[in-house]
Amino acid sequence: MKDKKDIKLKIFETAFEMYLENPTQFSVRNVAKELKLSREQVYTHFTSKKAILRYFYQLCFEEYINQTNEIDRYSEFTLEEKLGHLVYTHIELFQKEKEFVESTFNEIIFKANANNLFQKSLEKQVEIILDTSEGDASILPKKYLAMILVKELFHIFKFWIKDDSEKSEDTIELIDKIIAFLGEILSNQIITKGIDLGRTLWGQNHTGLAPNDLKFLFNSFFNRFA
């Protein structure tokens, strides 16, 4: 089992270096050649050329988990602190290979099929974090909330890629403010109350809107997240 992971890592490292040196030279054939493997052997570990590069992000996520386990009093962290830790740590890890992230993030993560392992791992982790909180975060469908948050997280990463302020101070401040805002929403009951209000309006027809209008309103609201 360990061997398998070793080979996988070896393939990634070779591919990663090859890509950084010259992206046009990077291909499964060249990686296989370099490692004296067959292309089929490479494909047993990665489904595609992009998947090899995408493994970088998965490694960052695993490193984040390792670091999290090393924090003494992580369980005492608040919801905001846990979310903050997740974002900051990824940015710290990305920072080490900023050039690589700059040239690959949009193509192989942001625009990619949401079923990739990195995105799924993040969603799972955000779900776990949300699980530990009280307030609205505990009654909303966490799976969907996590999906939305991870999508937002990707926007933050894109902001960071373009951020040219010293030591990415702009990004750090933005994250701090977004998470504080999010924490405020998730720890109170604004959404529950909103739904409650909606139900009352619906039931008493105070809105003066025909059911069709309301349906249109909800659809346009939810389509934004679809």
Binding site: H85, Y88, Q95, F159, I172
Partner: protein
Amino acid sequence: MKSLPEGALIRSGRFAKAGMSTGGNYLRHYLGNSLPIKNLHQDKRTLNRKNAVSIFKELSQLRGLPLKLAQGMSMDTGLLPIEFLEVMSSAQYSVSPMNRALVRTQFKRNFSEYPENIFQTFDYDAFAAATIGQVHHATNSNGVRLAVKVQYPNVRKSINSDLKLLYIFGKQFFKGKNFEKYLDEVRETLLEETDYLNEGLNIQKFRNIISSKEIIIPEYQESTSNEQVLTMTFLEGDHLDQMLKKEPDQNIKNNYGQIMWNFFHENINSSNNTFHADVHPGNFLFCEGGKLGVIDFGCIKIFPDQFIKSCLRLVQKHLNGSHQEFQKELECLGFIKNVSDLSAKEEKIEKLFSNLAIILGSIYDKSVFDFGNKKFREDLNILLRNAMEIREVRGSEQFIFFNRITFGLMSILMKLEAKIETSEARGIILNADC
């Protein structure tokens, strides 16, 4: 999108919010006036308190300049009702803190290490908030207790955007063409304060300048400091309010007051005109054995030689009782115009300065001055209130921090109600070569 987090507009929203809820409280007060209220005076007091709480709540949530303003207002200058001061000074040491995750990343990005890998122990819960950063307990590998100051993210940018706002508001309030010049002085000094390496050098500089054994200055720890993280040894002591709560003996208060008084007057003698320019109670610790701890060296002013000399000349002329020459010095400093033929307005300003000189001069009249003197405090308050009516900024921009030092010192000494031996200081001033 990019300017959003530190955008002036968002912050101005908070300024406006603070202002608006004050308006709301006063509105309630005036509406309440038409109702039969038995104790109007008492009512006004609670109102002031409400206002103070709501203003401070808004301002103190903004790290950086607004907090500085709040602190400035909380100095007992007589411009604000006493209830404001109570609330503000109690809130003076608490700003919304950076959370643990943010502190971690601020470290990582500055040292490539997390705090627990740099220090033997590090307490993630800050024990104090400074204007542009927060302070944590830590110990180094030798077990020495440390105070580690970590800066809030993007402070420099928010200082710039806050000052733009202040410019817009200030221009409405103050006449005078050179309002910008004064703001530039503030900006420069505040931005300097955001460089913690500079503050480290200041600490070392003051450890060299200050010879008094009654003053304790922390040791700068260079290896664990950089622009945004400042490490120094931890000083144990009480803040002013904590100390006063213990109802100390008059002798103890006199002693602390005298040390502080000497600390600033000795600066006049030190050849390089270097002054600690952030004189507010949070920056001083009242330590055991009657020693005074000075803990914040971010805001240091090196005044131009000419400036210090002309200030000294002004005081000399007053203490020597030569009023005409005193007036001439005022003209030289740019405070009054055309001294030989004063207009009504200039006369009003001249009168103000003469009165200020009489009040401040009274400190040096006898060998001991009692800062607990109620009349002194009232006179000063009335004078400062009158000064605000002029609504014009004049004179050298150096006076911004010079005044902060002078009135900051007065304010602390008045709170201490200390009796101060002033004859030596009088000697320093009168014998100064200027």
